[in-house]
């Protein structure tokens, strides 16, 4: 059992200005599920890229089953028995499941034989999948199955999984864990990257924690508490958002019977969405990405206009209004994609502040832009939200994900919104920044604003929401108070088992 599969010794990789990995050494034993923990930027992805042959280490060696292992490219790594399930970027939407799988194999069999193999493997691991369907039509969970089956067909010795559960419903996570445990029993080692601590404690026997490119510890996660692990990751005390009891105020925003046809080939349509949002309420909308989240946000922010009567704010119908007209009334939004949607990547933070705050912070005078005031506002956001950047003149692109997200959320929060809608506020953001953002949303609601948080992260929604609704295939379930809901019920809602409500 304690045969070492992969031995990493002193791996170091430097990029200009950053040491991504500094002298990292640990062992992965045969047939174990080994967790790799760390915040964003801790060097997890660089490390696995070295194992998978996408990046070559500057120093250090790897040994696979005692023999030197120097993969020059992913093909070599695959040949040596390493397979990887990526977090993003590795499926082709316009190609079929079978074509996608064939692309990830060295010597794929003929199309018909491959389809048969896919069906066979997917059934034996409980991951049903139709080889002829286009990947663009699949849900996030099904797409992940494609990736997993692509790996399994190569019968790997080491399976690397990069944040596999971030897009899954609790039931899908349970299925995935069953599959992983089955693989482990068959002798496959799994390197499991995540920052979800409870998952790791439930699944893994060993955990290696990285911080700032260095290995902090290798330990048994079942013997540590989630808080211990988090503090090793962050390297300090963690502020958990403290939610206050809030009583719901008056009805602020009402959406009634909102429908929207799909906006693109792989888009989702919205079907008869209704919701009521009260003063001081934080409505969490859960659901796996691609079920209409982006479309719903676009309808509420004004990017897509609907019939006037579909959305009411304090009794005033605003479904037909443009984003700026809605901003003037106090309906603000922060979309999911930071670079390119919430912020213009090559513009400075001051310019980005001007873009959304012009109306509410009166940053223009008789048609001319008032740059000094915009700069003051940007600096106020930077200071209040602890955005780490050289200054307000920096381009949005130069900020790390977490810092830019703090800026984007802060920019809207400081405009005193009546209603704030945020989509995936902490996606890809490290634990400390995520806690800050959640606290900011709670504080905003405590001051009497209403917040809609669209998120895939259930822990997050359970932590901050006062009520919960699930979005599934473009339908929104009825909202229910968070305290009444159990995890199982939430999972069922996410799966669309809300036909009656």
């Amino acid at each position: 059992m304690t045969k070492t599969l992969l031995h990493l010794n002193g791996l170091t990789k430097t990029y200009p200005g950053v040491i991504a990995n500094d002298d990292v050494s640990f062992n992965i034993e045969a047939g174990e599920i080994h967790a790799l923990l760390g915040e964003n930027g801790a060097g997890k992805s660089t490390l696995v890229k070295m194992i998978y042959g996408l990046v070559r280490p500057d120093h250090g060696t790897m040994q696979m089953e005692g023999a030197s292992f120097v993969p020059a490219e992913p093909r070599a790594a695959r040949a040596a028995g390493v397979a990887m399930v990526f977090q993003h970027f590795s499926l082709f939407e316009a190609l079929s499941v079978a074509e996608n799988i064939a692309l990830g194999m060295e010597n794929p069999p003929k199309a018909s034989a491959l389809s048969a193999r896919i069906t066979e493997v997917s059934q034996s691991y409980g991951l049903p999948l139709d080889p002829e369907r286009l990947v663009g039509d699949l849900s996030a969970g099904e797409r992940q199955r494609v990736e997993i089956i692509r790996c399994l067909l190569q019968e790997p010795k080491l399976l690397i999984m990069d944040e596999p559960t971030s897009v899954l419903t609790p039931q899908e996570v349970a299925t995935l864990f069953t599959t992983l445990k089955k693989l482990k029993d068959e002798g496959t080692s799994i390197l499991y990257i995540s920052h979800k601590l409870e998952e790791i404690r439930a699944l893994c026997e060993t955990a290696t924690i990285l911080r700032g490119g260095k290995k902090v510890a290798t330990c048994d996660p079942r013997e540590k508490s989630a808080r211990d692990l988090a503090e090793m990751m962050v390297g300090g005390k963690l502020n958990l958002a403290d939610s206050k009891e809030t009583t719901l105020g008056e009805l602020v925003l009402e959406i009634s019977d909102l429908s929207l046809p799909p906006q693109s080939a792989f888009g989702t349509s919205l079907k008869n969405i209704s919701l009521r949002l009260h003063q001081g309420e934080i409505l969490g909308i859960g659901g796996v990405a691609g079920n209409g989240q982006d479309e719903l946000l676009a309808c509420m922010s004004g990017e897509v206009s609907t019939t006037a009567e579909a959305i009411h704010l304090d009794g005033l119908s605003l479904g037909h209004m443009s984003p700026n007209e809605r901003r003037a009334l106090g309906v603000l939004a922060a979309p999911e994609e930071r670079l390119g949607h919430a912020a213009a990547p090559d513009m400075s933070l001051t310019e980005n502040a001007m873009l959304t705050a012009m109306t509410r912070k009166s940053l223009s005078k008789s048609g001319f832009l008032d740059w000094p005031r915009a700069k003051d506002f940007a600096e106020q956001v930077i200071k209040k939200f602890d955005v780490r950047t050289p200054g307000s003149q920096s381009a949005a692109r130069s900020l790390s994900g977490g810092n830019l997200q703090k800026f984007v959320i802060g920019r809207e929060v400081l405009q005193d919104p009546k209603v704030l809608i945020v989509n995936q506020p902490t996606w890809g953001v490290d634990a400390a920044a995520a806690a800050d953002i959640r606290q900011a949303l709670l504080d905003l609601a405590a001051k009497g604003a209403s917040v809609i948080v669209i998120s895939q992260d259930l822990d997050e929604l359970m932590e901050i929401s006062t009520s919960f609704a699930a979005l599934n295939a473009g339908r929104l379930s009825a909202a229910r108070p968070m305290v009444e809901l159990s995890l199982d019920e939430i999972g069922l809602l996410l799966g669309g088992a809300d036909a009656a409500a």
């Binding site: 992913p74 316009a94 190609l95 074509e99 064939a102 286009l134 080939a265």
Partner: protein, 310 residues
């Protein structure tokens, strides 16, 4: 006006010849675009092929050497584009436009001493009995080899893209270069090979014009065929069979309007001359009206710059 002078058989036979240059250029560009690269330099590569092929054929007296040199000439010009866009990450639209202007100028300079010369005649397929079959004979069995080469190439590209692993990799690179890179495919290498193939095809198309269809050399003789080839690729939704249809439709209307002009139809010549462009585009637009299907076929990474670090 005497429409009876227009023989349908000859019309079909000559449209196949007229369409061949555009068909060759378009099928090459289809492969380039399927790999995710938008090369707007088709016109420039075509005319470089036209002059290199013409010059080589005149100098050696062999049309085959001419076609070979035309393919090399087109590919050589496309390598400039490949290096600029794939290694120096230049903007594909601007680089493609520059390539067209460069090709037009360079070919005019190279071709100065070839104006007014007749090239060696390229052999036609003459099968004693079969070519004499009425109707079928002239249409199917009496062309020079470029017509057959172009048809073979279209079939070959269709088969390559649909059934081979290389074709799958090419489509994958054009669909998402990040994903292809993550799986370990050489995005830049695939694209450079595709660009060179496109250049060689455009060069052959140019030579089909200067050695077979016209046949002589005049400055700027491609007269926009490269642009029509580009338009056909897009409106054909990146499907080889539809590229064939579009090119033959264009060739057919072009030949028909010449015949109509000769027959003295009372439509102003200007309208007749513009008709091939208009009709081709209208038909293909109507065919690709189903937008959601079009989006599926369009290479998602078309025209986007790839750099491994992002």
């Amino acid at each position: 006006m005497d429409l009876s002078a227009i023989s349908p058989t000859l019309l079909v036979a000559s449209l196949m010849v007229a369409a061949t240059p555009i068909l060759l250029a378009a099928i090459g560009e289809l492969v380039v675009e399927k790999s995710g690269v938008l090369n707007l330099g088709v016109e420039g590569m075509m005319i470089m092929g036209a002059i290199s092929g013409f010059a080589a054929a005149v100098l050696t007296g062999s049309p085959m050497v001419g076609f070979l040199c035309a393919a090399l000439g087109g590919a050589a010009l496309s390598i400039i584009f490949a290096i600029l866009t794939q290694y120096f990450l230049s903007n594909q639209v601007a680089t493609g436009l520059a390539l067209t202007l460069f090709g037009l100028g360079l070919s005019a300079m190279l071709g100065q001493s070839y104006v007014g010369i007749k090239p060696p005649v390229s052999a036609k397929l003459e099968l004693p009995l079969i070519s004499d079959i009425p109707v079928m004979g002239p249409i199917l069995f009496s062309h020079d080899f470029t017509v057959y080469a172009a048809l073979t190439l279209v079939a070959g590209v269709w088969w390559f893209l649909k059934y081979t692993r290389g074709g799958l990799i090419l489509r994958a690179v054009g669909e998402s270069h990040d994903a292809a890179h993550a799986l370990g495919y050489k995005v830049v290498r695939v694209r450079i090979l595709a660009i060179m193939f496109g250049g060689a095809c455009a060069g052959l198309g140019g030579a089909a014009l200067s050695l077979v269809r016209v046949p002589q050399w005049t400055e700027g003789m491609t007269a926009g065929s490269g642009w029509i080839a580009l338009a056909i690729v897009v409106f054909a939704s990146w499907k080889p069979a539809r590229v064939l249809l579009g090119a033959y439709l264009f060739g057919g209307v072009a030949v028909l309007q010449l015949n109509l002009q000769a027959a003295g139809v009372s439509i102003p010549v200007e309208y007749l001359s513009m008709s091939p462009y208009l009709i081709t585009i209208i038909v293909l637009v109507v065919m690709s009206a189903n937008r959601s299907k079009l989006v599926l076929n369009a290479p998602a990474a078309l025209g986007r710059v790839f750099h491994a670090s992002r």
